[in-house]
Assembly symmetry: C2
């Protein structure tokens, strides 16, 4: 037991839950390279890029309308805060990015609210941050929505849609079957 008793106390990690919606996904498999429901652990130093080019982006979309790099996310720590936050930067020259109602042109950046809707073209990504303690790692977990996340300019939760991409059954956060569906919209 001593090795168990002696190891460092396990730290929780900050987690970004991203629920993705695009009207053409089911027809054209735009999100086919995204591993839904899988939790991916990344170092806090990583600038996470989303776009079309798989050599520069960690997460890619199979869609010629997407820029080679569409946007990037990176972790930082606010002054006098014990939790970490994320910054988003629009890397697309062609498409503006909306974070809730704030419009970002090429190379504009902003701090990401703890819960927000990111939009560009027909894409809608709901981002929700769950705080953890680690300053070494964070997690990203993707979910798929088959319904638009934005309706009538409101993006408050709609009726959950029990779909989670190609992952079935979906492993939700606490791996508890009774909670399945909570993170799918």
């Amino acid at each position: 037991m001593s090795s168990f008793e002696d190891v460092d106390t396990e730290e929780t990690v900050t987690s970004l839950h991203m629920t993705l919606y695009h009207p053409g996904h089911q027809r054209s498999g735009i999100f086919q390279s995204i591993k839904f429901c899988n939790r991916e652990t990344l170092p806090t130093s990583e600038v996470v890029k989303f776009g079309r080019n798989s050599s520069t982006c960690r997460y890619t979309f199979q869609d010629k309308q997407v820029s080679r790099v569409q946007f990037s996310l990176q972790l930082f720590k606010k002054f006098d805060s014990s939790v970490v936050s994320f910054e988003i930067k629009n890397m697309s020259k062609k498409t503006n990015l909306l974070v809730d109602d704030k419009e970002l042109g090429y190379l504009n950046k902003m701090d990401l609210p703890d819960k927000c809707l990111i939009r560009f073209g027909d894409y809608q990504f709901l981002v929700e941050k769950e705080d953890g303690e680690s300053l070494e790692f964070f997690e990203i977990q993707f979910f798929l929505s088959i319904r638009p996340l934005l309706q009538e300019n409101k993006w408050l939760p709609q009726k959950p849609t029990p779909e989670c991409g190609s992952c079935s059954p979906c492993s939700t956060q606490n791996n508890s079957p009774t909670e399945a569906g909570e993170n799918e919209w």
Copy 2:
């Protein structure tokens, strides 16, 4: 002449002038891997890292007291601004970073003033931005100071010191001999 007449109008690029000072440089060659006076053109998408590890950092310092990644700089565009700006993030768990009088802990970030003094340990870097038009590229140019940049808590320009690292004569910005020394301190 038609090819000359038909090419796109040349754009100016934003330039970061960084004047470096460390009391131990002349003895131990801390800045030996920095090419002084040389202008280096980088893509605006690059997150430029400074530190000890040459596999992750573009600019390295030969000093075990420097963190593997000490800090990073990246370009962004402010809302409603036609010029680009830079953000700095402290990537060192061991050493706080001072930007003028603002102290940045691990993973803290801030927008870099157009002229400022960055300090960590015995290092003093004077950073001066010169605006350009390009949104594709920017430049970094290093100068070496043999005198401290900070004296009595003021970092206003001191008497210029005609030294520019291993580069002699130093190619200054406009390659004009009459202006030599203007960017060396």
